[in-house]
Structure formats: C-alpha cells, structure tokens
C-alpha cells in the first residue's frame, strides 16, 4: 500500500488575468524522488509556494504530509525541508551564525547532523554568506533543509545556475543524503536530462496542468518517433496518441506517447515504419512545444546564386 505525502487536487491560480495553474492534479508517494519539470514560467515555483503555504490557490485543495498548508503553514514549514529558488539568505551573517540562527525554528534540528553536513559539504564556517560561491550556497541551503531530518524535502530548481561539476555533485548529494535515507523528495527543474539519472518519477507541467506523469523509464520506453508514410497516417493516425507530427520529403515523422500500442497497431495493419529512440530533450520538447496537427513542410526553393 502506497502512502501519498503530497496531494494536489484541481488547483487553479491566476495572477491578474493570467492563468498560471488550471486544474493541477498531482500525487507524490512516500519515498519517491519526484522530478517536477516545466519550462520557465510554467508554474513550478507557484505550485511549490502553495505547498509551503506561501501562496493561496484560487480553487482546489492541497495536502502536505496530511496537513493543509493553508490551515497550518507553520506545521508544514517545520516538517518539510525546503530550499527556495535563489534562496535569499542573510548575506551579512557568517555561515556558522546563520546555522545557529535558523536551528531554533525547528524543534527537530539535529546539531550533530548539521556539523556532519558542514564537514561533508566542506562549508567555510567563518565566511560571510554573501561571499559563498553558487555551489556553496546551494549546499548551505541543503544543510538548512536537511538538518532537521525532514521526512519530505522540497527543492525549487536547486541546480539552477550550477556548472556541470556542481550539478553532478548535487545529484550525488541527492542520492546519498536523501534517497539513501528514504526521504521523499520533490524537486523542480527545466532540464529533463539532469533529472533522469536520479528521479523515480517525472511529471511535466505545461499549460497549468500535468501533461505527463510517469516512472522515468516508462517515459523513455513509451515516447518514440515513428517514421512512416502519409497513407498510413491517413489510415491509423486518429488511433495514435500523437504529440508532434510533421511531413518532410514524403515521410511522416510522428512522435507518439504510446509506442507499444502504436507499433502493435502498425504491425496489425501491415504498415511499414521505422522507430527512432528519442533523447530526453526531444521527449520534453514533444510535450511542451509539440504540435498534434501534422504539418507539411514544403521544401523551400533555394535562392538563385549568381556565379561570380
């Protein structure tokens, strides 16, 4: 029996006339590493702020560790390890001062553990927070998010602005300090290839809704590009779950979301095809900018070149 740690039901949110979330539903189960993906401005931070009780939804309900963040935001903030996007910390404090300042807010703060993270993350205690490197700030943020031994950790785009080495270190921290401890982790990103190595589950947020929610491996197995001919698409196109389609040079390239079924159908109908594996950027692209209506790309005429 799986137990859900986060539940979001039919949440809507507008900022002035602009609709950001439009019927958002999602569930994060205990022990999962849940990657929350979307383009910039898709509403990831808005959702996370609502989970932390920092924003109020227009409609719908949220539950975090069984608590409604609107009713008891303090309880949520005490029990969740939270790292905000571009976390503004008190730059004038030294690292050790900041740790001592934050600790009393959490009844479950573990000083020994905090000390352990200081060593493991190689944090300079005497340095002012504003003088830390980007990588060090993220690690300090992680320390503050983890030292109270939260059951659930919510990280808002923790890898933003990190270089490839630091991103790898961050993924390693996630594997050793969060997954190995059995914590539930929700973290947002706009880079599918960065979350693939560590995420159990991926959810893609687009147009205010989750457009796809699947175990990482399933997503790869189910989203494929199929090359076939126009007649074939005319015959079976309506039965395929097409994310993106285009016709070039007489061939149709359709990106489908149910590759197994699509292949079975094509075999049954004895239609010739080729299957192309997609990389994660292409999968993400198919969901967030894919066009279901098959476009015909007519060859452009080369401009006449005048010989010199």
């Amino acid at each position: 029996m799986t137990e859900s740690v986060i539940e979001v039901k039919n949440v809507q949110k507008h900022f002035r006339e602009k609709s950001v979330l439009d019927g958002l539903n999602m569930t994060v189960e205990k022990g999962q590493t849940f990657a929350f993906l979307g383009r910039n401005g898709a509403g990831k931070t808005t959702t996370i702020k609502m989970l932390m009780g920092l924003l109020k939804p227009d409609n719908g309900s949220l539950s975090v560790l069984g608590v409604d963040p609107l009713v008891d935001p303090i309880q949520v903030r005490r029990s969740v390890g939270y790292l905000a996007e571009d976390q503004a910390m008190f730059g004038w404090m030294k690292v050790e001062q900041l740790i001592r300042f934050i600790a009393p807010f959490y009844p479950t703060w573990d000083h020994k553990l905090a000390q352990q993270y200081v060593n493991q993350f190689e944090l300079p205690l005497r340095t002012k927070v504003k003088h830390l490197s980007k990588g060090q700030s993220v690690r300090l943020g992680l320390l503050l998010a983890l030292a109270h031994r939260p059951e659930l950790v919510i990280l808002d785009d923790p890898a933003l602005g990190l270089d490839p080495i630091m991103r790898r270190d961050f993924n390693r921290d996630l594997v050793t300090h969060m997954q190995a401890e059995g914590r539930t982790v929700l973290y947002s990103s706009h880079l599918l290839y960065e979350v693939e190595p560590v995420a159990d589950v991926i959810a893609i947020l687009h147009d205010g809704k989750i457009v796809r929610h699947a175990p990482t491996e399933n997503l790869r197995a189910q989203v494929k590009r199929i090359m076939t001919n126009t007649d074939a698409i005319a015959r079976v196109g309506s039965k395929l779950n097409i994310l993106d389609g285009r016709v070039t040079a007489g061939e149709v390239a359709v990106t489908v979301d149910n590759a197994d079924e699509a292949i079975e159908l094509l075999n049954r109908e004895e239609i010739g095809y080729r299957v192309i594996d997609l990389n994660l950027d292409e999968i993400f692209e198919a969901f967030v900018v894919g066009q279901k209506d098959i476009r015909f790309e007519l060859p452009e005429v080369e401009p006449a070149v005048q010989s010199a």
């Binding site: 997954q179 560590v198 990389n279 994660l280 292409e282």
Partner: protein
C-alpha cells in the same frame, strides 16, 4: 570496473550501465569471482538513483552474469552463460550489418570493406597490446578497471 553514463542520450541510463557491465563480464575484462562495487557505491560514484543500479544488478543476476552473496557483496559470476554470448553475438552481427550498409552508402565496394575490416582488426589488436603494456609498466596506477590485472 569503469562505467560511464552519458546524460541526455537516447539510450536509457539503466541500459547504458547494464550494457557496459555485461560487456565487461562477457569479454573477460572482469574475471569471474571479482567483487564489484555495491549498489550504494555505484549509485554514489555515478550520481545515479540507487533503484536504477539495483534493478541493473538484479537483471544481470537473473542473466547469471553477477552473483549477489548476501552480506558479502556482489561478484562477477563464476559461470558466465554462453547462451548469453550468442545473444550478444547476434546483436554484434546486426550492428556489423548496419555498418556494412553505411559503408555502401559511402560508396565503398565489397573489397574496400574487406580491406577496412582487416585494418580495423589490426588496429584494435595494436591498441589492446599497447594498453596492456601501459598497465604493466605502471603498476601504481589505481585505475578502476585494473582489478583484473
């Protein structure tokens, strides 16, 4: 044992890891009975989800390539299955066929392809020899694939 993971590839990460370990077991690069890193270690080294590594180890154990001795560690199986090798050989043949087709598309005729294959055989042998030599000359090197030295 050296395993590398390419992020953003069209090959899923679990398959990348499984293929590399399998290839090293079948080619004899990892000798039967060699202890390999634990799930935890491998996950940390590669910065990859432990469940992914666990699934790979389980799959390779089911293929009789790895041998999990509880409380002891994971080892390269003492009985590497040969049927498995046939599967790998079939896959190799498919890839070779693909390469031959690509060669034809580049305008290389059959005798040209034969000549290229001879060159490739010679070159790979030379490379293997020079690698072995380098390892023999530098016993201090703690390269992670030096366990079978």
């Amino acid at each position: 044992m050296l395993v590398r993971v390419e992020k953003g590839s069209s090959v899923p990460i679990s398959r990348q890891i499984a293929d590399q370990i399998r290839a090293q077991c079948l080619s004899g690069r990892l000798t039967p009975g060699t202890q390999i890193p634990s799930v935890r270690q491998m996950a940390r080294d590669l910065a990859v989800n432990q469940n992914t590594v666990l699934r790979v180890y389980e799959r390779l154990t089911a293929e009789d390539l790895l041998d999990v001795r509880h409380g002891e560690g994971t080892y390269v199986s003492l009985k590497i299955p040969t049927a498995q090798l046939n599967g790998q050989r079939n896959q190799y043949f498919d890839e070779l066929t693909q390469l031959a087709r690509q060669g034809r598309m580049l305008g290389i005729d059959d005798s040209g392809l034969h000549a290229l294959l001879d060159d490739a055989l010679k070159l790979s042998l030379e490379q293997d020899n020079s690698q072995d030599l380098a390892q023999a000359q530098d016993p201090s090197s703690e390269s992670s694939d030096g366990e079978n030295a």
